[in-house]
């Protein structure tokens, strides 16, 4: 069975641009979460979606937004990119939104801002 898939794998943007990252969860999983991992740090929570509704939001500015589609795939959008947005963006899925289930991660999108 396919795991969590993310696209693109790498992306280079310049300051002020906009970016859209995509995620397909494991088949049957209805919850998707997004994390930002800056080099040398642990992942930081950005959003969680379950059944197409936002269930949680981390401490990120309004430039960050996301949505979940009827097929449970998800997009993360970042506007007005800053140098500090350079990071590995990880998507994770779980079968439901309850907190005792592990999240399964994709390999991420590495975003570089010039």
């Amino acid at each position: 069975d396919a795991g969590v898939t993310q696209s693109p794998t790498h992306l280079i943007k310049t300051r002020g641009q906009h970016v859209t990252l995509r995620c397909s969860p494991i088949s049957g999983h209805k919850s998707v979460s997004w994390y930002q991992q800056v080099l040398g740090q642990g992942p930081q929570f950005i959003f969680q979606y379950y059944e197409k509704e936002e269930r949680g939001r981390g401490n990120f500015p309004d430039r960050f937004s996301a949505r979940q589609f009827p097929n449970y795939s998800s997009e993360l959008n970042v506007n007005a990119l800053l140098l500090g947005d350079s990071a590995l963006y990880l998507c994770a899925s779980s079968a439901t939104g309850v907190s005792n289930q592990p999240q399964h991660f994709g390999d991420g999108t590495r975003l570089s801002i010039l």
């Binding site: 979460s33 740090q41 969680q48 379950y50 269930r55 939001r57 309850v98 907190s99 592990p102 991660f105």
Partner: protein, 118 residues
């Protein structure tokens, strides 16, 4: 507030020796605890979890972890390390109380780089 501390940035061990990667946590309610491993240029791979029950949890690839409520610790262990275990290890915690906006949120430590020498 929920938080995780991994006090060691780096752990070095010889192949065949036991290994321990340390983790301490802080949560408001009952903790749900997880260990993940990250290989270079890859995402995080789930190793094991503690939800309730036995304090010794067994996971993938021969890893296990010991939950200690009084010390608020969840150390990762393996009896005999392999060179292929060399990777970055993350401890993570969730508040088991399922409070509203923190429902799905994992709090991660900074990670511990494990190097196993042949």
């Amino acid at each position: 507030a929920q938080s995780v501390a991994q006090p060691e940035d780096q752990v070095n061990v010889a192949e065949g020796n036991p290994l321990t990667v340390k983790c301490t946590y802080s949560v408001s309610g009952n903790p749900y605890l997880f260990w993940y491993v990250q290989y270079p240029n890859r995402g995080l791979q789930f190793l094991l979890k503690y939800i309730t029950g036995d304090n010794l949890v067994k996971g993938s690839y021969g890893f296990e972890a010991e939950f200690n409520k009084s010390q608020t610790s969840f150390h990762l262990k393996k009896p005999s390390a392999l060179v292929s275990d060399s990777a970055l290890y993350f401890c993570a915690v969730r508040d088991g109380a399922n409070r509203g906006s923190t429902l799905g949120r994992l709090y991660f430590g900074r990670g511990t780089q494990l190097t196993v020498w042949p």
